[in-house]
Symmetry: C2
Subunit: 343 residues, 2 copies
C-alpha cells in the first residue's frame, strides 16, 4: 500500500488518529479531549465545562440553492446544541466566527444572525464572542460551551453487553429531506406534505437539549451520542468506544416518521439507506434493561418519542433482526469529510 500523500487519501479519521498520537498525556483538568461530542474540562474539581465546535462550509455542508440565510443561521447553532445535548449538558455561551465573501448582502447576514440569535435565546445561550473575516467561500465556525449536570457528562464509550439501545424521534428524515432538496429524489404529488416535513427536518433539525438534560439527571444512561453521521455510523462509534462491542437492531421497532414511512412504502427508499443517512440530530443512547421502567417514565414526559430499538451484544458488528432472520450490516455511511463529497 502506498503512503497516503494528500489529505483526501489520508481521510479525516486518519488525520484525527495521527493527531491523537501526537498529543501529550492530558493533565488532570482536561477530563476528556478529542473523540466525543464535546470536550470536558474541569478547571475546578468536580466541574464539567463542555465545549464543542463545528465548522460548516459552503458547497460542502450547505448549498445556497436550497438553504436560506435563516435556515443556515439556525442550523449552525443547532448542530452544536445537539452535540452538547449528547453529553447531557446545558448550553451557556457561544462563539460565532464567519468567513464571508465581500459581495454578500447585508440583508442576508442580518437574516442569518437573527435566526442564530433567536435559537440562542430559545435555548438560553448567549453570544459571547467570535470573529468576522473575508473569504471567497463562506465558512461558519461555531464553538459552544456549556455545563454538565453535577459536573459529569454522559460519554459515548460507556455501553455494556446486554444494554438496551434507544433512539429519540425518527431516523433518515434528514437524508430524505436532503435528497428532495437536491432534486435527487422526486416526491409524488400525493407526498408533497411529507416531502415538506422531510426538507424541514434537514434544514431545521431540533436539538434534543431538554431530553439530554433529563437523561443525564436520571442517571439511567450508560452511553450517548447524537446522530450526525447516521444511525449506523454513530452506533459504530458508540460500539468502538465502548470497547469493541456489537449490536442487534429490531427492524420492527425502528421508528420511522410518518413522512419517511410514506416514502418507504412507496418503495422510494430502503431501511439501510435511512439508517446510513446522516444529520438526524437525534439522541442515540444505551441503558441497562434494569432501567426500562425509569426510561419509560422519562419517555412519557419527553416532548419527543423514545424508542427501544435493540440491544448491545458481545459479538462485534451490527445485525438486523427481522422475521426471525439475523442479517449483518457493515458500518456503512460513516461520513468522512475528505473521502466523500456532499453530506
Amino acid at each position: 500500500m502506498k503512503d497516503p500523500l494528500t489529505i483526501a487519501d489520508w481521510g479525516e479519521f486518519g488525520f484525527i488518529e495521527a493527531l491523537r498520537q501526537r498529543l501529550p498525556e492530558a493533565t488532570d483538568d482536561l477530563k476528556l479531549g478529542i473523540g466525543d461530542d464535546a470536550a470536558w474540562w474541569s478547571p475546578l474539581a468536580g466541574q464539567g465545562i463542555l465545549t464543542t465546535t463545528d465548522m460548516l462550509v459552503e458547497g460542502v455542508h450547505f448549498d445556497f440553492e436550497y438553504t436560506s440565510a435563516a435556515d443556515l443561521g439556525y442550523k449552525s447553532l443547532a448542530v452544536n446544541l445537539s452535540d452538547l445535548a449528547a453529553m447531557g449538558g446545558s448550553p451557556s455561551c457561544v462563539y460565532l466566527s464567519l468567513a464571508l465573501p465581500a459581495r454578500l448582502e447585508k440583508v442576508w447576514l442580518e437574516s442569518f444572525v437573527d435566526a442564530f440569535l433567536l435559537l440562542a435565546k430559545e435555548y438560553g445561550v448567549q453570544l459571547a464572542g467570535g470573529d468576522t473575516v473575508q473569504a471567497d467561500q463562506m465558512v461558519i465556525s461555531v464553538t459552544l460551551c456549556g455545563l454538565a449536570l453535577k459536573g459529569k457528562p454522559i460519554l459515548r464509550g460507556g455501553a455494556l453487553v446486554g444494554d438496551d439501545i434507544y433512539l429519540s424521534g425518527s431516523f433518515g428524515d434528514s437524508y430524505l429531506g436532503l435528497k428532495l432538496l437536491q432534486g435527487d429524489l422526486q416526491a409524488p404529488s400525493a407526498l408533497n406534505e411529507s416531502a415538506d416535513f422531510l426538507k424541514n427536518r434537514h434544514l431545521r433539525p431540533t436539538p434534543r437539549v431538554a431530553l439530554g438534560e433529563m437523561l443525564a439527571a436520571s442517571g439511567a444512561v450508560s452511553a450517548m451520542l447524537d446522530v450526525s453521521d447516521g444511525v449506523l455510523a454513530d452506533l459504530g462509534h458508540l460500539l468502538t468506544d465502548s470497547g469493541g462491542l456489537g449490536a442487534e437492531l429490531e427492524v420492527s421497532r425502528l421508528p420511522l416518521s410518518f413522512a419517511a414511512r410514506d416514502f418507504f412504502e412507496a418503495d422510494l427508499v430502503d431501511y439501510v439507506a435511512l439508517l446510513a443517512g446522516g444529520e438526524d440530530y437525534e439522541l442515540l443512547f444505551t441503558a441497562s434493561p434494569k432501567q426500562r421502567s425509569k426510561i419509560e417514565t422519562l419517555a412519557a414526559k419527553a416532548v419527543v418519542e423514545l424508542t427501544r430499538i435493540g440491544r448491545i451484544t458481545v459479538a462485534e458488528g451490527v445485525f438486523m433482526l427481522a422475521d426471525g432472520s439475523r442479517t449483518a450490516l457493515g458500518a456503512r455511511g460513516g461520513y468522512d469529510h475528505f473521502q466523500h463529497q456532499g453530506c
Copy 2:
C-alpha cells in the same frame, strides 16, 4: 448616503455594532461578551473563564508564497495566546478547526500540526477538540480557553486620565516584515540580517503570556490589550472603551527594534506607518503614575522590554510630542476585514 448593501460596504465594525444591538442583556454569568480580547464567563461566582477565537483565511491572513506550514501552525495558536495574554489570562485548552483543500499534502498538515502542538506544549495548552472539513480555500479557526488570575481579567476599558501608557517590546516590526515578505519593500544588502529579524517577527510573533500574567498579578494595570490592528488603532480601541479619552505619545520614547531602526534610518519607512502597522502582538497597557516604581520592578524581571511611551489625556485624539511640537494623528490603520485587503 445610500444604505449599505454588501458587507464590504458595511464593514466588520458596522456588522459587530449591529450584532451588539441585537444581543439581549447578558445574564450574570457572562461578565463580558463581545468587544474585548476575550470573553469572560463565570459559571461559578468569582470564576474567570476567558475565551478568545480567531479565524485565519488563505490569501487574506496568510500567503503560501512566504508562509510555511510550520509558520502557520505556530501563528494560528500564537495570535490567540496573545489575546489571552492581553486579558492577563493563563491559557488552558484549545480547539482547532480546519477547512482544508482535499489536494493538500499530508506532510504539510503534519508539519502544521507539529508546530501548533509544539507551541501549545511550550505554553501548557492542551488541544481538546476541533473539526476538520473540506474547502477550496484554507480556513483556520482556533478557540482558546483559559483562566483569569483571581477570577478577574484586565479589560481594555479601564484607562483613566493621567495614566501612563506602556508598550512591551517594539512596534512596526511585523509590518516591515510583511512588506519584505511580500516584496513591497527591498532590503539593501547591508540590512539582510535586520530583514530576517523583521520577517520572523511577522511569521513567528511571541505571545506575551508570562508578561500578561505578571502584570495581572501586580494589580498595577488599569487597561490592557494586544497590538493586533496596530499601535494607533489599538490605542484608539483602548481610548474609546475607556470612555472617549485621548493620548499623547512621546516620539523620543517610542521603542523601535534595532532592525526597524535600520530601516527607519535608511529612510525606508516613517514612524506613522510603523505605528499604524498591525500584528506586533505586543501588549499595550496603562497604569497610574503612582505605579511607576512597581512597573519598573516588573520590567526588570520581564523577558521583554517595557517602555513608557506616553500618557492618557482628557482631550480626545492621539497626539505625537516631538521637539516641543504636538501633532495630531488620526486612528489611521484600523484594520477592517471587509474594507481593506491584505494584512
